[in-house]
Symmetry: C3
Subunit: 469 residues, 3 copies
């Protein structure tokens, strides 16, 4: 057994070229976290975490999935076990996650936050719990301290149009060096198939809009106003989580009728829902294009597949999955409709099934029109694909079917303030990939080419692309 | 040209770490062959094979496909050529199979059974024929001798519920050290779309059940009794070969009506067949859960694609293929229905299209509920995927989307007593994969972690998982 | 930075085994270009290209896609900028294509045609423009000079049945050493969904056939005569570009009715189009089988996805994409229908979605019947897949699910006389793959096995397979 710690300076960097690229060009770049699910309130309040459970395990469905697969009862995942008990259950599971990204993330996070080099398992759990908690109690480990430590220049949260953005206002006044901006995620606007959800959301939207919303035109007007409100708060990015794109023809009259039926409590049929969603997505696309925003489409998740456990523990707890239905025809039709009106915004399309990498890369490439370098982006490996082999596949698909050099790079998509080392992880994977190409002679060993490539993907491309204020 | 034989001690083991893992931890493990298509009668009778054709070529559709692709007439595949002629035709084809798994299997099998290191081709064919046949004539090469030689602790055949298991009874009495258990494969119970097949099978089932089966309730009762009969004979595993999962709603009355129509000779429509199959698969899932059995689902084969040659040479002769239709929604719906009733048994899902690895891995992960470690398994590379790159993909998909450490490992799915070296092959692939990870620093070089991982996947996980008697 | 040029003798050849195989067995083989889109007129007229733009950029939608993705306005792609301006825009984009196949192709082509080792970028653009143009002005760089330089023994263009083949006739008389043969591409015969296109084409076909075509039987008879006319001109290969296979039942009467409706200006519905196409593809398959031709099926392209830019710049300009719809059931049904009549010709099936490699490889394997070695071919990496990783995937899929040794190898599918180095590229990828297998011990290091394998795939298999005159 080696005496070098598992996470060392050259972790994942198997060639000397990779090591040079990483240490010289990748590592110095700051972080632009353009898509995450961090809680604005935690940032506004500069939250201090009570212990390693709070910052690391609470809300982490990746860990829960692994624990369940390892035979750990729900009590220690989402249940009522004490924080330290849950931590110990996780620690005991860690050795069983060998080759899962959790094994890398776990030790990278312990090393980068707390300087802990020891491998986590049952025997080291208590020691690590105490060491970490001790540090978490210090000011350097408040949310603001963490953002500073990881050199996060900008951070975009994910926000409902009905959100009043009060926390963002507070953060803006706080003097925090990291710019914290909202992002616009109007998924609730499509829920005509679930009238109770839809109406409750319309109520909240009406409240922040200061106007009643009882018709489709009123909804559209409210969304436009919220777009403007978000824009003033610095928002330049939207986000959508969709099983797949909607591209069904839908007239104004049809959309209005579907709205009214849902408003009166009648759920839209599957076909009506697709029509309404198509209509609204086109409307929203136009809104984004008008202001130079970027539209993010996260496609291909099958959610809440386990009815029994959904009933017990609710959504976003680790029962989601990857769809394998055809995606590209509808994706193309949706983008084409907007493009035909000159209303296609900058767009990042994320696929969840790695089998779709090529088809997605090729399809988004059809809408590169020379107006903006890298206007259409194949999004980085996401969720089940946020790990080494899938990151490599995404970068290879993009390289072979588009321009890697214009890639806006990593997004954490994270709910945890412990996830910033995933940028480091991504950068190591990137440099490892390039290093192998250099050593095999597949790309020239020329820093005039490589430095801008690496720096661009790590930070600079995103900085230029998003038009952030 | 190297003087070391092609199959040598370190075949496929490209790193020193791989060699250590294989020789220290993988190789010593015995074989638990939990899914195969070996003939119980051959075991009961302790068959001695007349020649290399009988044990190696008869019934091997992998070889026939390769021979046909090489321009070898059907006479030498399934036709009436003499055994030695067929063997020579195969030998002449072998050099043309370079990079096909058959090239590795062929030489590994010759080496491990007969100590033959020579490469098989036209020029070595006669020599190898004689050497092998000489050994096959000795007692060490009877079926029992082979099971002993390859240290097969347990072997599960694949049996129709209408089978009387007489051979299993005989084997149990024979004193054979290898435990030979039946597995329950009720595919015929779904054939309401082919009334003649369905009725003939019902007749056989009625006979072994000692009762008439002229209604759906009678069929269900007979299946339950056969489940119990198989259970007493040591069966703990079922198996299903399905193009894809069935998950259509079907009431008792609908199912009964479809049964009756088929019983009276009217084929179920495609929609009725799907309904009936959905109904019956739920019923069977409950039967398995009640007794702690494991349910295997082999999904995604398109069978009998060549009508002309199917007419000439029948099923299972090398005209089957890989489906590329969406699979996961139906798979999820089926598992969810059982899970919602707390009637989801331990389940192994095998996919045949490698493009589905991730979607399948993620979907089965939704039903890990902490009750049993590794309750839901992504099955090992099967059929077209039973080869090096596809095994690696399966293990990588499982590693990244679940727990490799809980994997129950290799299944031969074989019809031949010459296939046991495929376990060795799988173990070499596994250790090669881990060895590369160790040398690149992606997993710690620590035997406390690695020894249980390797031993578990080679044998111990399956031993614990299947609850065998 | 290395002093060795980027494109050097051992480019892509990472092992000594690869270098040996390439230099000894692959490099000496001539080129049999059995499928391309080169203009017969350019060959007949022995065209001399005015400059690097004409031979290299005009018509190259790969480059346009990359330029658009890099933010280059359409004026410099398909627009009215001057040739040298367009070249400079391309040169400036080249460094941004790092890891895209264009980066390799670009420098390989500059090296092999003009002996230019310098990397192309903004700063080298003028110099390279002049050096290349100077050479292009010499007789060695006429079309005939190029075909000689690259040792092209045979070249099959892609021709409409309505073509009079006058250029082929002229070439045959010219004494050009390269045999230039037509290939039969009757895609227009399926366009009953676009009556204006269909009728115009029928008019042209009638003209070359010297007979009116106002009914389905007349069309079939004309196609048969054109088949014979092409056959006399040396054609032995057909080609079809289809989104996917058609396999809908369609009677003579139905087909005739669909023909008549289209002939009278009424577009076929989607269902009618599929029926008619199914009918005609079976008819054509029979025509090919009668004469021992090879049928090529290029499946899975989604074309003209960008309505706005299609309106501006027309088809084949870089707005095509990869379908992800299921393909294999229809493919199998189509092949089976022909096979059942003993009318399945030699067939090469190309897939455009790499996720389909295995499903396609397995499906074509069902129609290997021992009559011809390698009768059914999985076509080489095509279009988006004509690059290193996708070539490797195709060869691995073929190796694992068929016989690599019977592979007819590379097709450029190119529209440019600058594409011949892609054969070299393919051969380097092939030898690199085999070299790794040799060094890892996965295939024997034995030239008696390897030399015929390499030579076969580079040239000899195609020479034997196509029955060319």
């Amino acid at each position: 057994m080696s005496t070098r710690p598992f996470i060392h300076d050259d972790f994942l960097l198997g060639t000397s070229a990779a090591r040079r690229l990483y240490h010289e060009f990748a590592k110095p770049e700051p972080i632009l976290d353009y898509h995450c699910h961090l809680a604005p309130r935690d940032i506004a309040e500069d939250r201090q975490f009570a212990n390693l459970f709070e910052i690391w395990l609470a809300g982490d469905h990746y860990k829960w999935r692994a624990m369940r697969a390892n035979g750990v009862p729900e009590r220690f995942c989402t249940g009522d076990a004490a924080p330290q008990e849950k931590f110990k259950a996780w620690a005991a599971a860690v050795p069983h996650t060998l080759r899962n990204p959790l094994y890398h993330w776990t030790h990278l996070e312990l090393a980068r936050y707390f300087g802990i080099d020891e491998l986590l398992d049952e025997s080291s759990a208590d020691r690590i719990w105490e060491q970490a908690n001790e540090k978490l109690a210090t000011p350097e480990f408040s949310v603001h301290g963490i953002l500073k430590k990881f050199r996060v220049t900008t951070l975009c949260t994910t926000d409902d149009p009905a959100d009043d953005l009060r926390h963002h206002v507070a953060i803006a006044k706080s003097g925090l060096e990291t710019k914290v901006l909202p992002a616009f995620r109007p998924d609730a606007a499509l829920t005509v198939n679930r009238p109770e959800v839809f109406k409750a959301w319309l109520g909240r939207l009406a409240e922040v809009s200061g106007t009643g919303i009882e018709s489709l035109p009123a909804l559209l007007e409210a969304l436009r106003r919220r777009r403007d409100f978000f824009h003033e708060a610095g928002c330049r990015i939207s986000d959508h989580g969709l099983a797949r794109c909607y591209a069904d023809p839908c007239s104004d009259a049809e959309a209005a009728a579907i709205f009214s039926a849902a408003f009166s409590g009648k759920p839209a049929s599957s076909r009506e829902h697709a029509k309404f969603a198509s209509y609204l997505m086109l409307f929203l696309g136009r809104l984004y294009a008008e202001r130079g925003w970027t539209m993010q489409l996260h496609l291909g998740a099958l959610r809440n597949n386990n009815t029994r456990l959904f009933g017990k523990v609710g959504p976003d707890t680790g029962f989601d999955s990857i769809d394998d239905s055809p995606q590209t025809v509808a994706l193309g039709a949706f983008l084409d409709r907007l493009d035909a009106e000159n209303a296609l915004p900058r767009t990042i399309v994320y696929n969840l099934n790695p089998a779709d990498n090529y088809a997605f890369a090729a399809m988004v490439g059809n809408f590169q029109d020379g107006s903006i370098a890298g206007k259409m982006q194949l999004g980085s490996g996401w969720w089940f694909l946020d790990q080494k082999e899938a990151m490599e596949w995404q970068m290879n698909a993009l390289s072979n079917n588009g321009l890697l050099s214009r890639f806006t790079g990593m997004t954490t998509d994270s709910r945890s303030f412990m996830s910033y080392p995933r940028h480091e992880y991504f950068r190591r994977v990137l440099c490892s990939l390039l290093g192998r190409d250099i050593e095999s002679g597949e790309i020239p060993d020329d820093d005039a080419l490589l430095a801008p490539l690496v720096r661009g993907i790590c930070h600079e491309n995103a900085r230029q692309y998003f038009n952030l204020p």
